[in-house]
């Protein structure tokens, strides 16, 4: 493998921090990743060298800033292999991307009795926006069930995707379990019935190569902050044909062509969906993060993180009374578990005291926790800068806590 972990760790200044006097072991990467120096520098350079409101500026700084923002859009386009850069809409993150779509898509295409199909392992951000539409428009939200291993059961998919279905909205990868869903198959089935598909890629783009043309999904959404980029920037990819016929989301500057009190005409893509001053320092940071990830190589990242996953699974399996949640054949570097009757909050609190950051609780996936009939899990999620030594520390930490609880 062609990566130097020691060097990579040096790229992330926060990894030098101490927590409760102990070196930080950060296993909460599915919630957010840390930022390499190149990303921090790129954002700070915006403010130090060319900060200026973008688009329509005649002065130099505005032009430089506009160029940087639009270059970032092209980087995102190339990163997920979209056909056009105007198919990339900048948002605040995955949640806003889904809400944008729920709002704009439903305006034109959803009416009472229509169905939207999600799955049982979705993050709340791919459940609640549709539930709001259940109230507002009388649509019906349905879901693909899962099995004990945390994999989607597609046996009844022909009934679930039916003539009332107007959109299928599925996570590429489960945030709580790490399951990689068979999205290509689901997209093919939906398309055979002329139904568009939205893929929630919040947990994917940082782990594996995504090619939206090859997937043929109609929409793909993700956040920057889980991809080593700043918080507050995210992406909605949509096929040009869909974005063109959808209504705008928010109104304001940038998204208009002409405004009079008699009426307004809207700007073309992508600006039609980007009302107000966009987060151009965020987009530049996202561009830098994409460059950084590509410099390591997504294949290398996937391979290394898979090694970490296998190592951690093996080591954790030796702990008495451990129960894993999510044992799908295809999964990314996320491990969800419980130890005996120890409450996840207690485990998380004690591990924190040892400098180990894990996430505990329901991971914004309560329907999934209800399926397993548990209050939550302890989740360790790995990123490119984690090491096997850190996993050993986690295992030791868990064993210490387990002893304490007897």
């Amino acid at each position: 493998m062609n990566i130097n972990i020691e060097q990579i760790r040096k790229d992330f200044p926060i990894l030098q921090e101490k927590v409760h006097g102990k070196p930080l072991v950060y296993f909460d990467n599915a919630a957010t990743t840390h930022k390499p120096q190149v990303v921090i520098d790129a954002v700070s350079e915006v403010y130090q060298k060319y900060n200026s409101n973008i688009h329509r500026g005649v002065h130099h700084l505005s032009n430089v800033c506009t160029q940087a923002h639009e270059n970032a859009r092209i980087k995102v386009q190339q990163f997920i292999n979209a056909t056009h850069s105007h198919e990339i809409i900048f948002t605040r993150g995955t949640t806003e991307s889904i809400n944008l779509l729920a709002s704009s898509f439903s305006d034109t295409f959803l009416k009472e009795g229509d169905e939207v199909l999600v799955s049982q392992l979705e993050h709340h951000s791919n459940i609640v926006p549709w539930q709001l539409l259940e109230k507002r428009k009388g649509i019906k939200l349905r879901y693909i069930p899962i099995n004990e291993r945390g994999e989607l059961i597609l046996d009844n998919i022909d009934e679930l995707i039916n003539s009332r279905t107007k959109l299928v909205s599925i996570a590429h990868i489960s945030n709580a379990l790490g399951t990689i869903n068979p999205i290509k198959e689901i997209i093919e089935i939906a398309h055979s019935k002329d139904i568009p598909v939205l893929i929630d890629g919040a947990q994917s783009v940082q782990h594996l190569e995504v090619d939206v043309q090859e997937l043929d999904c109609d929409f793909y959404v993700f956040s920057g902050h889980k991809l080593y980029a700043p918080t507050g920037i995210g992406v909605l990819y949509g096929k040009e044909a869909w974005l063109n016929i959808m209504e705008p989301y928010q109104g304001g500057g940038e998204m208009i062509k002409t405004v009079s009190f008699e009426g307004t005409t809207f700007n073309e893509l992508p600006f039609k969906f980007e009302a107000g001053t966009p987060d151009f320092s965020g987009s530049v940071g996202l561009g830098a993060a994409i460059d950084y990830v590509l410099s390591i190589g997504l294949d290398n990242i996937a391979q290394y993180e898979h090694e970490l996953l296998e190592y951690a699974t093996e080591k954790l399996s030796a702990i008495p009374n451990i129960r894993f949640f999510g044992t799908a054949k295809e999964k990314t570097s996320v491990i969800s578990f419980l130890i005996g009757d120890i409450h996840p909050f207690d485990m998380g609190t004690m591990l924190d005291k040892m400098g180990i950051a894990v996430r505990t609780g329901h991971h914004c996936a309560q329907p999934l926790m209800q399926y397993y009939n548990i209050p939550g899990t302890i989740r360790a999620s790995f990123a490119i800068y984690n090491t096997k030594e850190e996993i050993d520390q986690l295992v030791n930490g868990i064993e210490r806590v387990a002893q304490l609880f007897g």
Binding site: H20, H343, P344, F345, D346, G348, T349, M350, K353, T360, G361, H362, P375, G376, R400, L404, F405
Partner: protein
Amino acid sequence: MTINEIQEEIVEEFSAFDEWMDKYSYLIEIGNDLEGFKDEWRLEQNLIEGCQSKVWVHAELDNDKIIYSADSDAIITKGIIALLIRVLSGRTPDEILNTELSFVEEIGLKDHLSPTRSNGLLSMMKQMRLYAVAFKAKMGQ
């Protein structure tokens, strides 16, 4: 003993712990030992749902004193509850309302009671005070 004497007693006990591990072992121990929360009180109206752990609180009047009972599904949370009950239960509403709970900070557990901790403890403390306000009003009638 007054409320403040009990607070001082707890601070004294905790000063014996050099290691955080000992402190938390003790919290786990007193959390495990906390009893007395009846099943009939395990009601929706007594539940404080934190994002991380659940807390149930019940209060009743014994002459002019409030008797608190509480429970949690997480043991560390329960250990802190045990301390709060030790300080506040069996006191008059006035005593409770006039007390600054300084021991929490002094024994280094303030983090657990900050609004950013979603373990239900802060809401529980507010709820305990509200009971004191309500019982005081009732007694004044």
